[in-house]
Amino acid sequence: METIPVLKEREKQIFEKGMDSFAMECDKKSLAGSVSQRACVFCGSRVVLYPIADALHVIHGPIGCAAYTWDIRGALSSGPELHRMSFSTDLSETDTIYGGEKKLENALNELIDLYSPAAAFVYSTCIVGIIGDDVEAICKKVAKTKKIPVLPVHSAGFKGTKKDGYKAACDALFKLIGRNDSTRVSATSINILGEFNIGGEAWIIREYYKKMGVQVVSVMTGDGRVDEIGAAHRASLNVVQCSGSMIHLAKKMELEYGIPYIRVSYFGIEDMADALYDVAAHFKSNPEIMKRTQSMVRNEIKAILPELNWARKDLKGKKAAIYVGGAFKAFSLIKALKHLGMRVVLAGSQTGSREDYRLLRDMCDFGTVILDDANPLELAKYIIEKDADLFIGGVKERPIAYKLGIGFCDHNHERKIPLAGFIGMKNFTKEVHATVMSPVWQLVPRRGAKPEFVL
């Protein structure tokens, strides 16, 4: 078999447990020509703010950035669906010469009149800074006349990585917080940060906390509303999932409003239960909450165990590869897959930190490959070498898996069913089982022609 080459400059972002010393490099700009799976700063901001359903999202730039992010992720809303529209200033050649400020101002005024949004976000794209548009000033001006928050998002694609985009989104969110003091907020109240309701997960999580007797003031940003986010400063605790994207905001809120935060994950049985117990423990002055939590968790787990046990029989010993945006999701996935009897042979992320990778290393078995900011060729190389049966990733990873006869589970924007919560674990189990056990793999060349038949 021909081996797939790895670029020399990339070698330090690849680690094989038991084979290499751990000198993992990360937090770097992607290497030119490496075909990174990452997007850009704009993408980071766009995914975080996107689910705010009653806000106007205007992309200031040429048409591409708006076209490629139109209705791009589930981000379900229980009410308005303004976020599913794609608005662009569609800058033309003359705008790049004379500037796009006037166009932006007109676009904002018209769209606000037309759709009456609760707030507007204005995303800067690559060329906006270069042509020198003063987006900040336009936003201020429009906010004043239209009397809604109009917030610039500093998301020029080349100014950093996706992580900087998260930060820019958090900065914009922070400006919304503190604007609404009219909501009644109890002493046992939380904000959910970093849950985007792609497949309806935020609704499930909200329901759990409600059953425990904890008020959810806002979800940032799944099924998000400007008014709810405006009242977020009055909650007692921030519960942060997907910490890569939202920890910046949690820290800012702690500093400004004195709201402590905890880090959680809603994925997999253990992590989901912990996410509820940790919140209950925080409100220990009200012991009823813990009691309710315990009984709820017990019942929920009981309800899904038969399905898990059934699937484990078939999945035991199967090998999985994981490539996700933020490393935090990988931790939960490893635990969840272990629960199903599966072994993780590859774990990677687009934006993990050194600390994340150290933790990943400790969680994984010997021989597991850990990748930072990988590309299609590296992913293909290692899923072949490790002979994975399942790949968990997003749209761009799917064809790599399928071409090589490997089952696939979308744990990203395109999932249509909730994978979080206890019920989500059941859905995840069914999905993994369905794809890994599919009869189609018996027909693909890489599976149908196993060495024992060839020899």
Binding site: L7, C40, P62, G64, D71, K103, L111, I130, L377
Partner: protein, 467 residues
């Protein structure tokens, strides 16, 4: 939602177009052994990959020179060179197709100069570059410009007249524009039947629609070969699809808007026939007569049969279709092709809309639609989906015909959508839809009529068993 039809909005709402580099990336993905490389931010490549993968359901690798803040200040030459070297090392490509983006164009990077400075290094593949500033034109312009760049840069005028340029009667250049993989395969099969050796540029039909692999293919096999492209100057003729494309080429300068076919004609004296995308009876008739004109070869009897079958189906379906009203949208040339086809079945294309803005859409439509029908057609170019929706609301159509991006509007209007063209993100088999030739029209006809019948059956209280 308030609707004010008197307003001409500044903002684009749900664009009916994509940006120029996407078209170029698509072309470079249809060349054998080629890797597309975008000179700009990482996001451009990744977003386009995602967009294309969701349609083709195949790996689509697009490299990026990955600008940083420093690059934007000091220029992207160094990054581009590094990207070319890294792509070469990883993919060992036969060619790298370099397209610019809004960022590299705005800071004024001189890509031809950068490329020319390393072009002669023998450790690098063939480098083709095209200027595709995202703020100018649409993906269609990027597509055509990339085709022209390839033809131009692989067939310099200097080599002309040598032995390899003796005209080959059997070779026919076909520049099909943005067609589906199935369309390209059908074209090849027609050529095979007629014993013609086509050079179809680009040809993603195998690369972006292949079988599962034994081992990872760094670059999928298939695509127009570089040696074939280098033969284009000695072909017996060039067949170029797209009436809007043809009109543009006639009215524009060499540097902007003129087609690859025109270039081949001017540089190598290769006869050019510009025709519409062959959808339906009349446009496909013109296609075969154009081939006959260029190669002196008559159409095979197989196609006469296919033609008869199509007309027979028109006859069988005439009452289902007469007077039905369709909204057609998408790339200008596809809209023209579909309008030609629909109007010959009795459907009235009440709205022909495109995000493209060549200025030739109406003229091209007038060439294929009779004046009496044309009177009932509203032509809108440079529009977005919200404008299409607004216009469609007044027109009470029975059908939407276009790519899957019209679904949101069709759903709001409760009008069935027949998916054709690119992209198709919400159904499987988007790249396997056959549009062209008599066979393609028959396939579209069946889909159209069955969609109408299904709507009728579902809306009926009787639940007819025979329709």
């Amino acid at each position: 939602m308030k609707i004010d039809s008197s307003l001409n909005y500044t903002a684009t709402r749900n664009a009916c177009k994509l940006c120029t580099p996407l078209g170029a990336a698509l072309v470079f993905s249809g060349i054998e052994g080629s890797v597309p490389l975008l000179h700009g931010s990482q996001g451009c490549s990744t977003y386009m990959r995602r967009y294309l993968i969701s349609h083709y359901k195949e790996p689509v690798d697009i490299a990026s020179s990955n600008f940083t803040e420093e690059t934007a200040i000091f220029g992207g030459g160094e990054n581009l060179r590094l990207a070319i070297e890294n792509v070469t090392q990883q993919y060992s490509p036969a060619m790298i197709g370099i397209a610019t983006t809004c960022l590299s164009e705005t800071i004024g990077d001189d890509v031809p100069l950068i490329v020319n400075s390393i072009k002669d290094r023998n450790d690098l593949p063939v480098l083709v570059h095209v200027s595709t500033p995202s703020y100018s034109g649409t993906h269609v312009d990027g597509f055509h410009e990339a085709v022209k760049a390839i033809v131009d840069q692989l067939n310099p005028a200097e080599g002309f007249g040598s032995a390899e340029h003796t005209q080959d009667k059997k070779v026919l250049n076909i520049l099909p524009g943005m067609l589906s993989n199935e369309d390209i395969r059908h074209l090849k099969s027609i050529m095979e039947t007629m014993a013609i050796q086509p050079v179809i540029l680009p040809d993603p039909s195998e690369r972006l629609d292949g079988s599962p692999w034994m081992e990872y293919q760094v670059i999928q096999s298939g695509g127009t070969s570089l040696s074939d492209i280098r033969r284009m100057g000695s072909a017996t003729g060039t067949l170029e699809f797209g009436r809007v494309m043809g009109l543009r080429s006639k009215h524009r300068s060499v540097s902007k808007g003129q087609s690859a076919g025109t270039l081949l004609e001017k540089r190598f004296d290769v006869a050019l026939k510009s025709i519409g995308i062959p959808i339906g009876v009349r446009e496909t008739d013109r296609f075969f007569s154009a081939i006959e004109g260029l190669t002196q070869l008559p159409a095979a009897s197989r196609f006469v049969q296919e033609r008869g079958r199509l007309i027979d189906a028109y006859v069988d379906c005439n009452k289902y279709l007469a007077g039905k009203r369709a909204v057609i949208y998408g790339e200008e040339d596809l809209v023209v092709g579909l309008a030609a086809f629909l109007s010959e079945t009795g459907i009235i294309p009440v709205l022909c809309a495109s995000g493209g803005m060549s200025g030739f859409l109406r003229q091209a439509l007038e060439e294929v639609i009779s004046p009496s029908v044309m009177k009932q057609v509203s032509v809108k170019d440079g529009v977005d989906f919200m404008e299409i929706e607004q216009e469609a609301r007044q027109l009470h159509p029975d059908l939407f015909v276009g790519n899957s991006k019209g679904y949101a509007s069709a759903r709001r209007l409760k009008i069935p959508l027949v998916r054709v063209g690119f992209p198709i993100h919400d159904r499987v088999g988007g790249s396997r839809i056959l549009h062209i030739g008599y066979k393609g029209a028959l396939n579209l006809l069946d889909t159209l009529v069955n969609t109408l019948l299904q709507t009728r059956q579902e809306k009926s209280e009787i639940g007819y068993s025979y329709l």
